[in-house]
């Protein structure tokens, strides 16, 4: 990616590049959340504690992760 393209993407001049960046950030956040929640559960954290740290409801975090962990 050229420097110009980088600057355009960062400032959101070009919708496609900006939208791709948002999608990639969401994917990265989802993957990090998966790893962190997994680890917290292994270390004995309750769903309530994890939910509070993530700033979401206990139901939301449980529904999203309990089948996988």
């Amino acid at each position: 990616m050229t420097e110009q393209a980088l600057a355009a993407a960062a400032s959101g001049d070009e919708p496609r590049a900006g939208l791709h960046a948002v999608r990639a950030l969401r994917e990265l956040a989802d993957r990090l959340e998966t790893l962190q929640v997994e680890r917290a559960r292994r270390l004995g954290w309750s769903w309530q504690e994890i939910a509070e740290a993530l700033g979401v409801s206990r139901q939301a975090v449980h529904k999203k992760h309990h089948r996988r962990i």
Binding site: M1, A5, L6, A9, A10, A17, H20, A21, R23, A24, L25, R26, E27, L28, D30, R31, L32, T34, L35, R39, R67, R68
Partner: protein, 180 residues
């Protein structure tokens, strides 16, 4: 529709899902189907090969293109100032080698079924229509290839970019369909 698929056509659909899992794709588009058809012996691969396409090279390049479109896009993250290599390094320091890729697989695995894009669904419908047009009772890999090449689709673009003679490919795919 699937009940009229031959074993090789069913296998192609299953393989396309595997291609999507390997590439961490969140959807199956016509290119995944093309890779699946190109990587297994059958009427579709025979038609591609017969038309002079470097089938192995085509499959490999298409897989690479699909993977570059992975949701965790390195360039897209760099554009907002995030160095994916550095994130990967730090993540692996805590969670072990390959942790981010594993998390990606875990997220995809949660949905046992990866959905087809409208263009992939359309290709499957067109495959059915091609079989009807040719008077064939069953839909095999050759019909799937005809479905992929009948209308504009990402798969057809891949073939055109690879220099494939679409008319020749389609002619051979039709012949293979009649024999089978």
């Amino acid at each position: 529709m699937f009940e009229r698929f031959t074993q090789d056509a069913r296998t192609a659909v299953v393989d396309a899902q595997q291609v999507a899992r390997t590439a961490h794709s969140d959807q199956i588009d016509s290119r995944h189907l093309l890779v699946a058809l190109a990587e297994r012996a059958g009427p579709a691969r025979a038609a591609l090969h017969g038309s002079g396409v470097d089938v192995a090279g085509l499959a490999e390049r298409t897989r690479a293109t699909i993977e570059a479109g992975d949701a965790l896009d390195r360039d897209a993250l760099a554009a907002v100032g995030i160095d994916l290599d550095e994130v990967t390094r730090r993540t692996e320091a805590t969670f072990g080698a390959g942790a981010l890729a594993r998390a990606g697989r875990a997220l995809r695995g949660r949905r046992r079924h990866i959905p087809f894009t409208p263009d992939a669904k359309k290709a499957l419908e067109l495959a059915l229509r091609e079989a009807v047009r040719l008077g064939d009772k069953e839909i095999d890999g050759g019909h799937l290839l005809l479905g992929l090449t009948r209308a504009e689709s990402p798969a057809r673009a891949v073939l055109t970019d690879a220099g494939a003679d679409l008319e020749r490919v389609r002619h051979l795919a039709e012949g293979a369909g009649e024999v089978a």
